[in-house]
Every structure is written in C-alpha cells, then in structure tokens.
Amino acid sequence: MNWRSFPQYPEADMEPIDIQITLDRIEDQTSAPSNDPRVGSQLEFRGLVRAEENGQTIVALEYEAYLPMARRTLETLARDLLARHRCLAVRVIHRLGVVPVGETAILIQVASRHRQEGFQFLKEYMDQLKTEVPIWKVRALPLLPAIPDAPALAISVLLP
C-alpha cells in the first residue's frame, strides 16, 4: 500500500498491508495522512538506533535479515493483528545494513477507527517482532577516540 494512495473504501476483508525491507534511509520516505473517511486515528512508531549498546558508546548498528522469512513473518503478523484489533491499514518499513545512531531502524504506521486499536496494534506488533521476525543486530560500531594523524580505521564488534 502506498500511504498516500490509501484506498477510500476498501472492502472489510481487504485491509491494506504494506511491508518493506530496505537498505535505504527511512527518513527519506514521505507519508501523508489517510483519506479513508473511516479513519479516526493514525499512529506512527519509530525505533531509532541509540548511542549505547551493551554499555558501550556506539555510532551505528548493522542489521541483517533472512529476507523471505522476515518479509513473510512481518506480513503475517500484520494481517493477524489488523484483524484482531480491527485496524484499517498498516505500513511497516525495516531498514537493514548499517544504521547510524539517531536514524530510524523501523517505522510502523497504523490507521484505525479509534486510537485504542492502534495503540494495541503497535504494542503487540513490536512485542512479537522482537521474538519472531528473523532480523538481527549483527554488529555495533563503537565510537573510537580520535587519534591525531592516524589513518582512517573501521572496527566493528560482533554482537552475541
């Protein structure tokens, strides 16, 4: 589903689901309010890369996925939770590769009639994503102290 081209009157059993797994910056994606007249709530969750990982100051995390299974699992979760919470549409984008601190690793947008359904959807989607979807943080890139006149050096730390 293109968030901007949200269908105005989708059938009850055809909730739009848009799942994307990308190497590109999620910040470069645009989004627009839904024009579905049934929608009374549109919520957005962004998971950002924090500057701390396992007590260490970092500059980025690297993500890896088992792509076909990750996509299928993200979609199945979305379909199940849309139906359970009677939400109207969802868009999920997960970024892979190196994601710098402060940038978005995951974006979820959910449209529903009322805010409660959307909040429940977001909570359960993220809880299940964290246990079911085959995506991994594989490396943390630590912040290195600056050494004058030293050549550029990249070091990564494998995550358990």
């Binding site: 088992y66 299928r72 964290k130 995506i135 594989v138 995550l159």
Partner: protein, 79 residues
C-alpha cells in the same frame, strides 16, 4: 538439503550455508544428528536456535524433505 546460517552462526562456522547430503526425509532429531556430524561446532548452539523450514518456524513433528530450505534462527533482535 541446504541449511542457511545467520548472524553469529556465520562467524562461528565460517559458512553462510551448509549442505546435508540426504537420501530421504529427516525427522527433527535426524536432521540435528546429520547437521552436527557435518558441523560439530553448532552443538553448543542447539539449545538457543529455532529451526525454520521453507520460511516458517518448524514444528517438533515435522519431517524435512531433501528439497526443503532449512535455516537455523538464532535469537532475533530486530527493531
């Protein structure tokens, strides 16, 4: 039967996948026996990984066919 490896399992084995020579269907236990014969380094990981078969988590009673795509799924950490 191809077995895909991800995250630290690739570092542990130095491989992105392993190929199990198989003459027929394998039970979950039979699969692990064949896999650990091929790559004993994975024995310590068995309690921590889940098996996926053709993009879905496998069930204890599953039988794996030679044409199935298997994957070892270590604890996930997306989001």
């Amino acid at each position: 039967m191809r077995v895909l490896l991800f995250a630290h399992l690739k570092e542990l084995t130095g491989q992105e996948h392993l190929d199990i020579p198989s003459t027929g269907p394998l039970t979950v236990e039979g699969f692990w026996t064949r896999l650990l014969d091929l790559c004993p380094a994975l024995a310590s990981q068995r309690p921590h990984v889940r098996l996926a078969r053709n993009w879905q988590y496998a069930q204890p009673g599953d039988r794996f066919e030679p044409t199935d795509e298997l994957a070892l799924i270590p604890p996930v950490s997306g989001g």
